[in-house]
């Protein structure tokens, strides 16, 4: 079967992480979200996957290449132009992205799946396809019931008793929501859906295609199936998902490395003397990381690959990206460090270079040289702050 992963978004709500990696490549315990999606599609019988890309497209394409290392065939539909040596994105919308693929080669020739590249899902596609075909649907949306107070974040759907969709609402007020069943961004379509997507202008699946299908009386259904759904729509989502993952609370999500003590998973080539440090799980420590004597790490924490936790540093409930150096005087508490930014769980962030705090936290590959007042602050903290 064929599938399409939507991976062309800019991921503005997950900045500054998405300044460096596109949203589908955000690592959950070191593994890009989209890798889990590709694996699940493969395990569900999808063997040909086309991916639309735009923002930071090369990061996705150079990781997945032709898909053979993941046991599938993959190809890309780049939405943009190479201009003055730089790739520039072109917004054509999610349905517009599907249409472009179809017009290019007529790729979709049977029931196919479309899903967002930025949510971890393990939906039972075989069951969903059975439902879709039984109903003779042109489109089926995988739905999920959420607490009423969360509906404002999503597209809400009302169905009849057979699952046929009668109404859509985009991000309604809690008081005005027509139901608490929401669109998860996972769809099944028949190729006949392309009759409803115009060629020449940007077109969105949720906001335009589905209302057009309902208006035309086309058979569009929704099915609610039990499945794990970890949506990384924002920094707080990512913060929570990482904590859930490292705590082993995402069903079916494998923790990397070897479990050396209960709740402590460690990659290879790690320099660490457990008897001279205090590490309390759940913690994942990436490969080639060094943890100095006297350091304290409290979970839930994720320490990326190639990190340097200097002797005496304290890391409490943090998510550290690859190659993070935590200085000996640092006491990091509930912070996310990614790509030269210190990010609060709420999303507020501070550029490490801009703020001049490389004496606290830095890229481990950079030679840290303290300028006058930085050395003064460093010495002060070392003397007084405990």
């Amino acid at each position: 079967m064929k599938a399409m992963i939507l991976a062309a978004g800019k991921g503005t709500r997950v900045r500054p992480i998405t300044n460096i990696v596109p949203k589908p490549m955000i690592p959950l315990l070191g593994k890009p979200l989209m890798e889990s999606i590709v694996e699940h599609l493969r395990n569900s019988g999808f063997d040909q996957i086309v991916v639309n890309t735009s923002h930071l497209a090369p990061v996705i394409q150079s990781y997945f290449r032709d898909g053979s290392q993941f046991g599938v065939q993959m190809a890309y539909s780049f939405e943009g132009l190479l201009s003055a040596g730089k790739l520039e994105g072109e917004a054509i919308g999610s349905a517009g992205g599907m249409k472009r693929v179809q017009e290019f080669s007529g790729f979709f020739d049977d029931t196919f799946a479309v899903l967002c590249g930025d949510a971890l899902v393990n939906v039972d596609f075989r069951e969903a396809v059975r439902f879709h075909r039984e109903r003779g649907a042109v489109a089926t949306i995988i739905l999920r019931d959420v607490p009423r107070e969360e509906v404002f974040r999503y597209g809400v759907v009302a169905t009849d008793e057979n699952g046929r969709i009668s109404q859509f609402q985009e991000k309604p007020n809690v008081d005005e929501a027509i139901s608490t069943r929401i669109n998860t961004g996972i769809y099944l379509f028949e190729p006949s859906v392309f009759e409803f997507i115009p060629s020449s202008r940007p077109f969105d699946i949720g906001g335009e295609l589905f209302p057009a299908l309902v208006a035309a009386g086309a058979p569009i259904f929704g099915v609610e199936l039990p499945f794990e759904w970890v949506d990384i729509g924002s920094i707080p989502d990512y913060w929570e998902a990482s904590r859930q993952a490292v705590s082993g609370r995402i069903k079916g999500y494998t923790l990397p490395g070897r479990e050396v003590e209960p709740g402590i998973h460690v990659g290879i080539n790690v320099r660490w003397n457990p008897s001279r440090t205090t590490v309390t799980g759940p913690v994942v420590i990436g490969g080639s990381t060094s943890i100095g004597d006297g350091a304290v790490i409290e979970g839930p924490s994720v320490i990326g690959a190639g990190c340097v936790i200097e002797p005496g540093a304290v890391v409490r409930e943090c998510i550290l990206g690859d190659y993070t150096r935590v200085s000996a005087i640092a006491r990091l508490d509930r912070v996310l460090v990614f790509g030269n930014e210190c990010i609060q769980p709420t999303g507020e962030h501070l550029g490490i270079e801009e703020a001049g705090i490389s004496w606290v936290v830095d890229d481990a590959r950079r030679k840290t040289e303290l300028v006058g007042h930085e050395r003064e602050l460093y010495e002060l903290v070392r003397e007084f702050a405990d």
């Binding site: 912070v335 703020a355 606290v360």
Partner: protein, 111 residues
């Protein structure tokens, strides 16, 4: 660099009106704080409520002033929020300075 100065009893509240305290203004920031001390102020609240960014040179100016004040007086911080509060916490300056959520609490503590 712009300040709004309010005297409450023996306490001087200096509210920083600039949104950023970075390397370009840090020397001026430091000299202004020095002026306050030369003028005999021994209880100073630096209100950072309008500041949305401070870098390590801004912190350096505050630390130098705190050292100049020594044990004869108080230099405290109020109303740090957002990334400014994060900056104090990350650099552990929240342990070096006495910090208050708002100006009133800082004034009350020094009065």
């Amino acid at each position: 660099m712009r300040f709004e100065e309010i005297r409450v009893g023996s306490v001087l509240v200096a509210k920083v009106l600039d949104g950023r305290i970075a390397a370009d203004v840090a020397p001026r920031f430091k000299s202004k704080l020095a002026e306050y001390m030369v003028d005999g102020n021994r209880s100073i609240v630096i209100d950072l409520g309008s500041v949305s960014f401070i870098d390590s040179s801004g912190l350096g100016a505050l630390v130098s002033s705190l050292k100049s004040m020594g044990k004869d007086g108080d230099l405290v911080i109020s109303s740090a929020q957002g990334t400014v509060a994060t900056m104090f916490k990350l650099t552990r300056m929240d342990k070096v300075f006495r910090m208050y959520d708002n100006c009133d609490a800082a004034v009350a503590a020094l009065s």
